[in-house]
């Protein structure tokens, strides 16, 4: 038998693999460190944003005693906050509506030292509802246009100069600044888009009478309203959605299409039965992410849809579906912009600012989580 242990030297010789150091070695370590630090920088930014907002925002929304949630903040619309001292020396902090009630209830109390803080009272129900509506319109319009475009581009169109031009246009659309989208939305949807009316406005670009009725198609625009805002957001998110939908369509194996066509299916039957069902989950998840991104945009809606203050909720005192869609709404991004930059700052505005941002962040992250969840769920379900 050959004994291996005999071949291993009894005494330890100098390590032949010892580091020789040198410039190359130092450069290697330096590069690795620099790359690592740059990556950690992201973590720092994200951490700072989330921790700061959670620390300062969470106490506005949650509280220590049951029901643990500040219900007023989520169910009231923004109001002016009144702080005042009464003649009996007590200090009060009341929303404006409660303040009026207070004055009626205690007419004898003399109020001294009265301060009003705009947008610092009430809650954020109005902006939340408005953003939900804008996003809803955006989803419907963007998915419809985006999906149809992607299907056409990927399944029907032949390659050529014209298609290249269209793709270039879509890519360029993604690079347009959001404020330009806002102005575009104002120009197209608010001022020019067609409406059907019996009495066209003087300012209409032009009007077309509808035969055999008294009505006209009047290109007078929809005015500043949630419909215009939703459409503007939709146009803005379109490039993302088209790209996402096209990627999902491309991921479907050619074999599914061939098998379906070879069985005598028409092109549309093939798309509807053998392509879309499998592409849909991917389209949906990517689209949800894109839409949550634009749901937080301020510039596109500030010209087209958003109001900083509105007493009524969108469904109060409206006249039909048309009236519902053609009203302006409050919206979270615009509300945050207002409370952060357009009102006098005091310690009383802080809770509103951080609370709003916190709630908005949570909502957006929930949607992002939903999209990830959907993706995982469907990946498990559909495999090939």
């Amino acid at each position: 038998m050959h004994d291996i242990s005999e071949e291993i030297p009894k005494h330890r010789t100098a390590n032949p693999f010892a580091s020789k150091g040198g410039a190359q070695k130092r450069k290697d370590v330096f590069t690795a460190t620099a790359l690592r630090l740059a990556t950690y920088f992201i973590l720092l930014c994200a951490g700072y944003i989330f921790v700061d907002i959670i620390i300062k925002g969470a106490p506005v929304v949650f509280k220590a005693s049951p029901p643990f949630v500040n219900i007023d903040f989520l169910t009231k619309s923004p109001e002016t906050l009144m702080t005042f001292e009464t003649s009996d020396g007590a200090e009060h902090k009341l929303d404006f509506s409660d303040y009026s009630q207070f004055k009626r209830d205690f007419p004898d109390l003399k109020i001294v030292e009265e301060h009003s803080h705009a947008f610092s009272g009430g809650g954020i129900l109005g902006p939340l509802v408005g953003t939900a509506l804008l996003t809803g319109i955006c989803i419907i319009v963007a998915l419809f246009v985006g999906l149809t475009t992607a299907i056409y581009l990927n399944e029907y169109s032949s390659k050529g100069r014209f298609m290249d031009l269209i793709r270039l246009a879509i890519m360029n659309l993604a690079g347009v600044p959001s404020v330009v989208f806002g102005l575009f939305g104002l120009g197209l949807f608010c001022l020019v888009a067609p409406v059907i009316t019996d009495a066209p406005m003087e300012s209409a670009l032009f009007t077309v009478p509808i035969l055999f009725t008294k009505s006209y198609i009047s290109f007078q625009g929809w005015g500043t309203c949630m419909l215009a805002g939703g459409f503007t957001l939709a146009v803005m998110v379109l490039p993302v959605i088209i790209a996402a939908c096209e990627e999902s369509l491309k991921a479907i194996p050619m074999g599914f299409r061939e098998a379906s066509l070879a069985l005598g299916a028409t092109k549309w039957q093939t798309i509807a039965k053998s392509v879309l069902p499998y592409a849909f989950p991917g389209m949906l998840t990517a689209s949800v992410l894109g839409i949550t991104r634009v749901a937080g945009e301020t510039a596109p809606i500030m010209f087209t849809a958003a109001l900083s203050h509105k007493d009524k909720l969108p469904w109060q005192d409206v006249n039909g579906v048309g009236g519902f869609l053609s009203q302006s709404v409050q919206a979270m991004p615009y509300h945050i912009y207002t409370v952060a930059a357009r009102i006098p700052q005091s310690e009383y505005t802080r809770p509103m600012q951080y609370g709003s941002v916190f709630v908005f962040l949570v909502v957006v992250m929930l949607f992002a989580a939903l999209s990830v969840f959907l993706r995982i769920h469907y990946r498990k379900k559909i495999k090939w």
């Binding site: 061939e258 379906s260 066509l261 005598g264 028409t266 053998s274």
Partner: protein, 284 residues
């Protein structure tokens, strides 16, 4: 072709009875019915660059016809001409000649390619069941034709799966995903799916190239069985396979049809040097 036909008849006379039964179609009287008639066809994926040149051949009813030849010789391309799958490539097209299937020029303006494909089924190289249940995979072709009655579908699904020799293996899990089957089973599922719409012709594009020998043997057995009902054209790289399953074989080389004859003749006594070289493994 005319001369080879007479040679082929002579050849048949000297066949031993054993090989005769192995290679003869079940419906003897229909043997000479033309099902596919390729008349001097040239085809290119790009205009001006033909990859198939002057192909003339007949494919008979109830026979298994094998296309053999080295990669890139155009055998799959010709197969995909028969159900016009090449239409998917915008620039591709026949530059010359005519393909008649069941007597009709398949490029005639009054031919609806959808209807053509209902008569000319296809099984692909890479088995491609839909990510649906086994049942829905087989029923797919019927559903798109508007057949949705449960009884009709149940019957067609069972029949097709029995044909494909898959029924016993899957009858208890028809609602399980088709993707849960083994590779060979998936390919048989694809065959069941193709024959569920009762095509006259089944085109098979290297149906066994992604399968192990045992699955291949099962599919070959299945092809021999299907011959009684369907006219089958099979593209294969495997010459033994062609010899085992086909009645007639066509040898392609560089876009030309070199020789087409009865398989037994072709493998025992090829008339062209190139065919002999390829079959004996000298190139390809």
């Amino acid at each position: 072709m005319k001369t080879s036909m007479s040679e082929q008849e002579k050849q048949e006379e000297v066949l031993t009875p054993e090989t005769k039964t192995a290679n003869q179609p079940v419906t003897r009287e229909n043997t000479h019915d033309l099902v596919i008639d390729v008349d001097n066809v040239s085809f290119g994926y790009v205009p001006g660059k033909d990859v198939l040149r002057d192909i003339t051949m007949n494919i008979n009813r109830g026979e298994v016809t094998a296309f053999i030849g080295p990669s890139g010789c155009g055998k799959s391309t010709l197969l995909r001409c028969f159900n016009r799958m090449n239409d998917l490539i915008p620039t591709a097209g026949i530059s010359k000649g005519e393909i008649r299937i069941l007597g009709t020029d398949i490029h005639a303006p009054e031919v609806d390619v959808i209807e053509l494909r209902k008569h000319v089924g296809m099984v692909f190289q890479k088995y491609n069941p839909f990510p649906k249940s086994i049942y829905e995979n087989v029923a797919f072709g019927l559903r798109i034709q508007g057949i949705n009655g449960k009884q009709a579908l149940d019957q067609a699904v069972e029949e097709s799966l029995r044909y494909a020799g898959l029924w016993e293996e899957v009858k208890d899990r028809l609602n399980a995903s088709g993707l849960g089957l083994s590779g060979g089973q998936q390919q048989r599922l694809c065959i069941a799916r193709a024959i569920a719409v009762r095509p006259k012709i089944v085109l098979m594009d290297e149906p066994c190239s992604a399968l192990d020998p045992i699955s291949t043997a099962i599919i070959e057995e299945l092809i021999t069985k299907l011959r009684s009902e369907f006219t089958i054209v099979i593209v294969t790289h495997n010459m033994q396979q062609a010899a085992r399953v086909s009645d007639r074989t066509a040898f392609f080389y560089l876009g030309n049809l070199i020789e087409m004859d009865r398989t037994t003749t072709m493998f025992s006594n090829p008339s062209k040097k190139q065919t002999e070289d390829y079959i004996s493994g000298r190139f390809g």
